[in-house]
């Protein structure tokens, strides 16, 4: 079954984020109050490890399963969309203490009211798709 590996990656991801407390609303609050190093430590070591991995992959020309060079997808050019869109997301992230991954993971931990957040996030995504052409990017 070709989807099994994705299921396992998802399970692994869910376990890490709960054990690291990155799904904790309180940890996000603490981060944005600069009262703990914990979240900065997680994001920082993740990025440093990620940079090392991608740089080494490039040097040794590591291929993905499709046989092409393993690399991260390139983001489109732009400035406004990243800053404004990012800030809008940041407001929501700090309010509900969860970004999209943790929204799902917390649902699994038994925070059933996350369903309301997920439905609202679907509506937010839909709204963006509808008014996209009217927004500066």
């Amino acid at each position: 079954m070709k989807y099994l590996k994705y299921l396992l990656v998802g399970i692994f991801f869910g376990i890490i984020l709960v054990k690291s407390e990155a799904v904790s609303w309180f940890r996000i609050y603490e981060m944005f109050r600069f009262q703990s190093f914990h979240m900065y430590g997680i994001i920082g070591t993740a990025v440093i490890s990620g940079i090392l991995f991608l740089q080494i992959s490039k040097r040794i020309a590591l291929k993905n399963v499709r046989g092409t060079q393993l690399d991260a997808p390139k983001k489109e050019k732009g400035f406004i969309r990243y800053l404004i869109g990012g800030a809008i997301f940041g407001l929501g992230w700090a309010l509900i203490g969860a970004c999209p991954g943790p929204m799902y993971i917390l649902l699994g931990t038994g925070v059933y009211s996350m369903i309301i957040v997920i439905i609202a996030a679907l509506l937010g995504t839909f709204l963006y798709g509808v008014i996209k052409s009217k927004l500066p990017h």
């Binding site: 991801f13 690291s20 944005f32 983001k75 997301f89 700090a94 925070v111 509808v130």
Partner: protein
């Protein structure tokens, strides 16, 4: 076993998150959780309203599978891989939150005042959850990514756009936590 059951330190968790990104890139996919929202919109028929959702969402079924796995991962962790150790928050954080009316900061993953099913009888709690969800859904698509896509994958691949997005995340987050939350609670 205690090592597994206790909360994991940041220097273990961070590299493991990078490993999740690495394995998805190796599979020829990408680490982007907010894309699942776009995929679900498309699957639910949003393509009739906007071309933004006109794509073959079935090609993104792998992403929905990761999401489903993440839900199971959350379940497995609380059921079998946790003890009752409270989140080791800064004492100042705890005092601040108690003053704002949060009863037991850190004893649960999310504040009961906002998320418990009892709180859902309060219009305020429901409104906050809806507003938060709308901001996350709209903002991530506008910025074309969230923490996984920009803060982890984008910064790891040294992309300027992702740095701008992460600065945006922090501008929004700092404003919410430092200026808006104290007004709400």
């Amino acid at each position: 076993m205690e090592i597994i059951l206790n909360p994991w330190p940041w220097y273990i968790s961070g590299p493991l998150i990078a490993f999740v990104m690495a394995i998805l890139l190796y599979f020829g996919k990408t680490f982007g959780m907010s894309s699942s929202l776009k995929t679900m919109c498309s699957a639910l028929g949003a393509d009739k309203f906007s071309d933004f959702f006109k794509f073959n969402w079935k090609e993104q079924k792998w992403n929905l599978t990761v999401v489903f796995g993440a839900i199971i991962g959350g379940f497995i962790t609380t059921e079998y891989l946790s003890n009752d150790v409270a989140t080791d928050l800064n004492k100042t954080t705890i005092a601040e939150l108690q003053e704002m009316g949060f009863a037991n900061p850190g004893s649960t993953l999310v504040p009961n005042e906002l998320f418990s099913l009892d709180s859902l009888i309060s219009i305020k709690a429901i409104l906050l959850l809806i507003i938060g969800g709308l901001l996350v859904g709209f903002g991530t698509r506008y910025a074309s990514g969230c923490t996984s896509g920009h803060a982890i994958t984008g910064l790891s691949s040294l992309q300027k756009q992702s740095l701008i997005a992460v600065i945006g995340f922090f501008v929004g987050g700092l404003v919410m936590t430092n200026f808006i939350l104290p007004l709400i609670f």
